[in-house]
Symmetry: C2
Subunit: 222 residues, 2 copies
């Protein structure tokens, strides 16, 4: 069940435009509030339509949720593609690349991180859907990369799944918890400088910490 047609089409039927607008709003609201906290009334209002319009374009609240999530499909597919292209690099290089991609996605599409956290801690059918259609394959692929890096002696020997989840959470933490950062520290997570500092930290500290202590030394970067 992909989207009905390519978006942004010049002469897209009018309905598709409003459907797209609704989906944008829905993704935002669902990812911020979760499935039940987000109300159809609010989504409709924010999209500039009235409530029954939602039921014209989408059969259900659940259907709307799935369609909204499906928008993220392209984002993840693109990531997958990039990893595919570089598939002959060393596992460690792949992992570093995956991490950078994850940070980029976290900043450019913060909804994804929020959704994964929200549903990942709640469990249930929506998590099952996400695992099946959005994040499962990707999680397991990156985990396989980590396992390969361990087997190649490039990474310390910890459970690969632990490594991957921890890296993901660490990478997404600043953006996903943006309100907390603001409240507790007065820090605005969305800025480019914050992102740059975080990316540097993830590579130079976190990923470096996972690497097997080098025989001699790493390429001194700073």
């Amino acid at each position: 069940m992909p989207l009905q047609a390519a978006p942004g089409q010049a002469n897209a039927r009018k309905g598709e435009q409003t459907a797209a607008r609704i989906l944008d709003v829905a993704l935002e609201q669902f990812s911020r509030l979760g499935f039940e906290r987000a109300t159809l009334n609010d989504i409709a209002a924010a999209a500039g339509v009235s409530a029954p319009t939602l039921h014209y374009h989408f059969v259900d609240k659940a259907d709307l949720w799935q369609r909204a999530m499906w928008q993220l499909r392209d984002v993840i597919a693109r990531e997958e593609q990039l990893l595919q292209v570089a598939a002959d690099a060393t596992p460690l290089a792949l992992l570093r690349m995956a991490m950078r991609l994850f940070i980029r996605i976290s900043w450019d599409h913060p909804a994804l991180g929020r959704i994964v956290m929200l549903e990942g801690m709640a469990g249930g059918e929506r998590l099952a859907w996400l695992d099946k259609h959005l994040i499962g394959a990707r999680n397991r692929r990156i985990t396989a990369i980590a396992a390969a890096a361990i087997a190649a002696g490039e990474l310390q020997d910890f459970p690969p799944a632990h490594i991957v989840i921890t890296l993901q959470m660490a990478a997404a933490s600043l953006v996903t918890l943006a309100p907390l950062m603001k409240t507790s520290f007065g820090i605005n997570s969305q800025t480019a400088t914050t992102r740059a500092a975080h990316e540097r930290m993830m590579v130079d500290a976190i990923l470096a910490g996972f690497m097997v202590r080098p025989p001699a030394k790493t390429k001194a970067k700073r």
Copy 2:
């Protein structure tokens, strides 16, 4: 607004017992589902009382939420105490200690991590309350420790707040995202072995990664 009396008292009035039972259930449900997803009916049912009983013991849903959260006060206070006692250790040692404590709390009181994530990504008045009464002082205290460690040349120079949040998220990730771990990897996060592996990883990889590369070498641990 502390709890009405010391719990566990032998001849605690009957009402206090049920109130305590309600608070337990409420903490669980609120932390799993968030404020609005958790319903008073469900909480009452799970606590074995009928709905109006909640309004006898607590004025409001909001009041119930705050009281439920307040239970975590002791947990955090105890942590604070331990850090206080060791206040003369090096900043790095303190930070390592704080991390270990955080991991312990994550496993023993998983509700805390869930709440921080839920409200920390949603923002709003409840996050403000949490910051004021539960996690704000603690966040800023640990951040100060990190800053001291940087100043002492023990830690790489990244924004202390970034370090602290990232460490916390990494420490709590496995337990907080237990359903995701189960769904995507078939891993049960709650087990002691999982926890042990995670703690080892946090110290040997993550925290080690943050440390300033030693002049010669670290005390080879393994």
